[in-house]
């Protein structure tokens, strides 16, 4: 016992010393902090892949007269851990915080960035409040939000023929908002909503009775106004009931390539979803994916992880444009410069950032292929419809953002 106790103590001491050996900030070094989920439910969507994408962007940007350092940490999906780390990072000379999935953490970090006047690019949260009532001059929201997901899936789906809907809604604020927004777009595009069923959130794991209700409504599309494990469970059970094989489409409102990969094509075939990026869209996306693949240990990039690549490139362009000293001095000025210069990269093509911090890019409606249609690894999507960048997001004057009114 005494031996094991001693070795336990030694191990503990060694572990305690390890994180202390960290170099301080240097004046000519731009530090980027990737704050995301490395161990929880959002790990496969960005996590280590998001970090690799940011590092690839730094490597491609090359030496431009200043050093760039990328550090990362796990916010464990806890807003207080995330906000605490963000404060500490900004105080220790981190110039920009990137990624930050989970809306509650994303919003908390936005407050810290405003307080410290430092740049903050969110690529992982879905809340449209980041460019709405909670918008800040230091925030850029780079990727998807609930409005864009609802709009693309709702109206593009109706145009593609899915004109009658039934909603399966998680009974909490996020589910209600998704259902309300999507239903509005379905009706605006000339579709019909046949009904909805709300299930208790969290802790519902058996969706069979809700799926049977949905099937009985004879709607062509079942919209899943939920996220994460609930969506996955719904899809699996719908496949077991053979709902999708009878021609009913399942529409997921928040779903990524990594989730489809995890489910497998046999289960996920026929599923309809929205992403802003797919590796096999055009020559540029295929080229950037080829460059990234060696760093992603077998996974393919999706819109959340590759947004870190795109955002880092644009951020570094803005830093170079205004000089390191000026970039370090004011996050607001840095973000203003990012808004002033046009974006262009291989992942999302040409784009721009709006006054409220919204990065504009097209959104695509995809259908998941059947196993017979898929020809290679990650050959999962076929394109159903495109919403152009100008129409994909909430109009500037409807967001209630203070930066726009003034």
């Amino acid at each position: 016992m005494s031996l094991s106790r001693r070795s336990a103590l030694l191990t503990g001491a060694a572990l305690g010393i390890a994180p202390l050996s960290r170099a301080g900030a240097q004046a000519n070094t731009i530090r980027i902090g990737v704050l995301n989920d490395m161990s929880g439910p959002y790990r496969d969507i960005s996590g280590p892949y998001g970090v690799a994408c940011a590092k690839q962007a730094v490597a491609e940007f090359g030496a431009q007269g200043f050093n760039v350092e990328v550090i990362n940490a796990d916010h464990q999906n806890k807003p207080d851990v995330g906000a605490g780390l963000a404060r500490q990072w900004y105080d220790q000379g981190v110039d920009m915080i990137l990624d930050v999935p989970t809306s509650s953490v994303g919003l908390a970090v936005a407050q810290v960035a405003k307080e410290k006047n430092k740049a903050y690019i969110n690529t992982g949260s879905a809340t449209s409040d980041l460019t709405g009532s909670a918008c800040q001059a230091t925030t850029v929201h780079w990727m998807y939000d609930t409005y864009m997901l609802a709009k693309s899936t709702g109206s593009a789906m109706v145009k593609a023929g899915g004109d009658s809907w039934f909603f399966l809604t998680a009974d909490y604020a996020f589910g209600h908002a998704l259902e309300r927004d999507t239903a509005a777009f379905v009706r605006a595009a000339g579709g019909e909503v046949k009904g909805q069923v709300r299930y208790p959130f969290p802790s519902t794991t058996d969706f069979s009775s809700f799926l049977v209700q949905a099937q009985a409504s004879r709607a062509k599309v079942i919209g899943m106004a939920n996220a994460g494990a609930d969506t996955i469970n719904t899809i699996k059970q719908a496949a077991e009931f053979g709902i999708t094989r009878r021609g009913v489409k399942l529409a997921a409102l928040l779903m990524f390539l990594a989730d489809v990969h995890a489910l497998g094509l046999q289960t996920a075939q026929g599923l309809v979803l929205t992403e802003s990026f797919y590796w096999d869209l055009n020559d540029r996306t295929r080229a950037v994916t080829r460059r990234l693949l060696p760093h992603l240990s077998g996974a393919y990039p999706n819109m959340a992880s590759i947004a870190n690549y795109s955002a880092t490139l644009h951020f570094l362009k803005a830093v170079k444009d205004m000089g390191v000293a000026a970039a370090k001095a004011s996050g607001t000025e840095l973000v203003n410069r990012m808004k002033a210069i046009p974006c262009d990269d291989d992942a999302f093509g040409a784009g721009s950032i709006r006054a409220d911090g919204r990065k504009l890019c097209p959104s695509y409606l995809f259908e998941v292929k059947s196993p017979a249609e898929s020809k290679g690894p990650y050959d999962y999507y076929k394109l159903l419809g495109t919403t152009p960048a100008g129409e994909a997001f909430r109009p500037l004057n409807e967001g209630n953002c203070a930066l726009v009114r003034s």
Partner: protein
């Protein structure tokens, strides 16, 4: 350990032995208290103040939890509910109603105590695992309430809560100003718990822990004592949650989730069950790990697990319990 505090010692022995100490602290505890106060004063100059504030909030939470499990022997698996609701109410009071921070913290403590009255009244009727399950079920109800209630903001939580001005005059926006407020709140809570433990009421609490039927046979209404201890513990948990909300400016579902109830058990066990300083050290270890290991990515949970196993295997009494055992003092 059981023999030291058996019932026979209560009427004269324990009280008589501790009389020489100051405010009921014995020699070892006095030294530990002085070290802790010195550390409180020096910490913000060496460590990151926001981190130390978070640590103190969790230390108070763990101390409140320890009051129940360490001194009454009641294992609550639902303390996150009181901690989290304290945070939500304080956040709502500070942001929407525009109340000053001290009123917000008091409001958080009162709601914690109020919920504790309801939860405790129901739960103390059962013992052991049934007690733990009832507290957990009640905490899950509070969690569902927080997911649905409009004022909590669902999964986004209440964001951008202002720290406000203490007593309406002293602005708390700087981290150092806030730090001293948190330090005072923590010390007050800590001393209050110490006072409770060493009061005649506390002696009865310990008697219930050691042998409840015997305490009943001596003529004490044990249910009343357990209920009061439960309310005190929940009220202090509410104060801790409210203070944490003001420090970070956010109140979210993390704080009412049942994993938070588990975390506080971990802190108390690692530090030392039934020791006054144990929960403080336990909170420092757990929060320190969450903070300093975050940069190791996915390894956080693995390392947390290894340290927990190491503690359980090598330090049965918890860190402080082992130190106390080494120096033959009760800490």
């Amino acid at each position: 350990m059981a023999s030291e505090t058996t019932l026979t010692a209560i009427p004269t022995g324990v009280v008589g032995k501790q009389a020489p100490g100051i405010w009921g602290f014995n020699g070892g505890q006095m030294i530990a208290l002085l070290i802790m106060i010195a550390a409180l004063g020096a910490a913000p100059f060496f460590l990151y103040p926001v981190f130390v504030m978070k640590l103190l909030c969790f230390a108070l939470f763990a101390c409140a939890f320890n009051l129940l499990i360490g001194y009454v022997g009641l294992m609550s698996f639902g303390h996150a509910a009181y901690f989290g609701m304290g945070g939500y109410v304080a956040g709502h009071a500070a942001k929407v109603m525009g109340l000053t921070p001290e009123i917000s913290i008091i409001a958080g403590g009162l709601i914690g105590a109020g919920l504790g009255l309801i939860g405790g009244w129901l739960a103390i009727r059962r013992q052991g695992i049934y007690f733990a399950m009832i507290t957990m079920a009640l905490a899950q109800m509070v969690y569902f309430f927080c997911v649905q209630a409009p004022f909590t903001g669902g999964e986004d939580g209440i964001q951008a809560i202002p720290r406000g001005k203490l007593f309406g005059v002293i602005p708390l926006d700087s981290d150092m100003a806030m730090y001293w407020v948190v330090a005072v709140v923590f010390l007050c809570g800590f001393m209050a718990i110490h006072r409770v433990i060493h009061s005649p009421f506390g002696q009865v609490m310990k008697a219930i822990r050691e042998n409840e039927p015997r305490t009943t046979s001596l003529g004490y209404r044990t249910d009343d004592y357990k209920l009061v201890a439960f309310i005190l513990s929940c009220g202090l948990a509410g104060v801790a949650g409210a203070t944490k909300t003001l420090v970070f400016g956010i109140a979210t579902l993390t704080d009412v989730h049942f994993s938070m109830s588990g975390e506080v058990v971990l802190m108390t066990l690692v530090g030392g069950l039934g020791t006054i300083f144990g929960p403080v050290i336990g909170a420092a270890v757990v929060i320190g790990m969450q903070n300093y290991l975050a940069e190791m990515g996915a390894w956080v949970t693995v390392i947390q697990g290894v340290i927990f196993v190491a503690c359980v295997l090598a330090f049965r009494r918890g860190i402080v319990g082992e130190i106390g055992n080494l120096f033959k003092v009760k800490l």
